[in-house]
């Protein structure tokens, strides 16, 4: 295991939690929740990018987690924590079956099948009366008294999962994932079960997406099929690309920046799509390594100048 930079993580998590303690305005709190959840989804999307695949089914697994947590709460009356974990487990379990079939394909096939899956699952929710049909599922409340602490709780859960994904990325397992992206055949010839590692990567990412879905359900109390369209994955991709995909910090920076800008500058009106679309286009055309890549290069140039 490489150096995990624990002090940085501890400091940043403490800062983020401090923000959630200070924010008391409901609108601001909703934006903080949005950032926590979107960051978790973006990091989950990036985790599958480690094996070189774009996972548009992220949106579907977030939705499955949200509906599973919602059903566990409203229909089965399970306790909050159990319902949340249940959402992640359901998403991971379905992703294992889905991944085992689809991860034999690569590149465009995997991408498009994930996209189709997202839409198919969405149709299933909207046709299921037990899940509320097109109007969605209502009344997914966290325990009484938790309301005031929800932003802190959501931030804490997201931070723990993001850190866990970071630890996995830095472990030998993470190195196998990068090796699969770089040169799958070499990894196969030294005795590594590539399909198994891919499915594991996919299931771990889907668990995180499922938890993100559950958090979304408890944060909004209402979910509907429209919340989990492929746009969820498209936005997550925007966060990853604008922030930079080389490092886990990238999607975090991208999420904070774009969600904040999107919320404050445009008030989340009908222009939201234009804003995100333009951000993605400009990022891929002008900043191929994202903001963190630009910052790193700037820092290196500065260091080089100092050295002279």
């Amino acid at each position: 295991m490489d150096n995990l930079r624990l002090p940085y993580w501890a400091l940043c998590t403490a800062l983020a939690l401090a923000v959630t303690f200070v924010v008391r305005d409901p609108y601001l709190a909703s934006i903080v929740n949005l950032i926590s959840i979107a960051a978790l989804v973006a990091v989950s999307l990036r985790f599958v990018m480690l094996i070189g695949e774009l996972n548009f089914a992220t949106a579907a697994f977030m939705g499955l987690g949200a509906y599973a947590a919602g059903a566990a709460t409203t229909i089965l009356h399970w306790p909050f924590a159990l319902a949340l974990v249940f959402g992640g487990v359901v998403a991971a379990a379905i992703s294992i079956v889905f991944g085992y079939i689809t991860l034999r394909t690569r590149g465009p096939y995997f991408l498009l099948i994930g996209f189709a899956f997202t839409e198919a699952v969405r149709i299933l929710y909207s046709k299921s009366m037990a899940l509320g049909g097109t109007s969605g599922m209502v009344g997914i409340f966290p325990p009484v008294g938790f309301d005031a602490w929800m932003p802190s709780l959501i931030m804490a859960v997201a931070a723990v999962l993001i850190f866990a994904l970071y630890v996995l990325e830095r472990s030998d397992f993470g190195k196998i994932l990068t090796a699969i992206r770089d040169n799958e055949n070499v990894a196969r010839t030294v005795g590594l079960n590539i399909l198994l590692c891919k499915v594991a990567c996919f299931a771990i990412a889907s668990f995180a997406a499922g938890i993100a879905g559950g958090l979304h359900a408890f944060a909004n109390n209402v979910i509907s099929p429209g919340d989990f369209s492929f746009l969820v994955a498209a936005f997550a991709l925007a966060y990853v690309k604008v922030g930079g995909e080389d490092n886990i910090v990238g999607p975090l920076v991208g999420t904070i920046l774009l969600v904040t800008l999107g919320s404050f500058a445009l008030g989340l009106g009908g222009q939201e799509h234009i804003f995100y679309g333009a951000a993605i286009i400009l990022a891929v055309l002008l900043l191929p390594d994202g903001i963190t890549g630009l910052a790193r290069r700037g820092y290196q140039r500065l260091a080089a100048r100092k050295g002279h």
Partner: protein, 246 residues
């Protein structure tokens, strides 16, 4: 079982057809313990196909494949590699965006448990290949000769019983070729590992191999010690004839 222990790999009548084309035909091949076996032949003789058949990347159209005495006909590349037969690829046999250390480490993951022991194995392998000074460099930024050594390093880090190298000397200069050959001899002598070497550099093959098998048009043409092969009339004709054609 005695015979099985003496032969690491044996093929009987191994055949592979692609549509109407017979790439490898009725090939009998044997690799013994502690030997470097050269597999040579003009372009299109079926060397790469043979390589892919042995490592499980192609399924044979006919014939059988025994690896370490076990019938492996039709087994997956994963199953065969886990038995201790590890191969490299002719083009790009490494992970260019990862450090040399992580590249070699990858070879240790399946066979070695425990981070500390993997690290130890990685460093030991790097030292043997002379890669220690480059451990923390990105593999893709190394000069071509060192990249070839990294490829061997990844495969050898798995400590195979049979190491199959697909043209490991292509594009190397004379010093690099000599260094690589020394490494191959050490792998054979110090680790009792046999090596199957597909290579175009005739001088190197003649120098390092214990035995040589010559393929021509997908068929076995000749086999023997380097000296025998050098003086084999059929082999000389096959090579000269090929040159004449092209």
């Amino acid at each position: 079982m005695q015979a099985a222990e003496q032969v690491l790999l044996r093929t009987k009548g191994l055949t592979r057809r692609f549509g109407g084309l017979v790439a490898v035909s009725d090939l009998d091949l044997e690799i013994r313990p502690r030997e470097i076996l050269g597999l040579i032949g003009p372009n299109g003789a079926g060397k790469s196909t043979t390589f892919n058949l042995i490592s499980g990347f192609y399924k044979p159209s006919a014939g059988t494949l025994f690896v370490f005495g076990e019938n492996c006909t039709g087994k997956s590349p994963l199953a065969i590699s886990r038995m201790g037969l590890v191969r490299t690829f002719q083009h790009g046999s490494l992970m260019s965006s990862m450090s040399v250390r992580d590249n070699i480490l990858l070879g240790t993951i399946h066979g070695v448990s425990g981070a500390a022991r993997r690290r130890e194995r990685t460093e030991e392998t790097a030292a043997m290949l002379g890669l220690t000074p480059h451990l923390d460099n990105m593999a893709g930024t190394l000069p071509h000769g060192l990249q070839r050594l990294v490829s061997i390093g990844i495969a050898f880090a798995a400590r195979p019983r049979l190491l199959c190298l697909d043209e490991p000397l292509t594009g190397l200069n004379q010093t690099e070729v000599a260094d690589t050959l020394t490494v191959l001899e050490r792998i054979r002598d110090e680790f009792a590992c046999s090596i199957l070497l597909v290579e175009h550099n005739m001088k190197a093959v003649m120098k390092v191999c214990d035995r040589i098998v010559v393929l021509h048009h997908g068929q076995h043409l000749a086999s023997g010690t380097p000296a025998e092969i050098r003086n084999d009339r059929k082999v000389v004709e096959a090579y000269l004839g090929h040159r004449h054609d092209s």
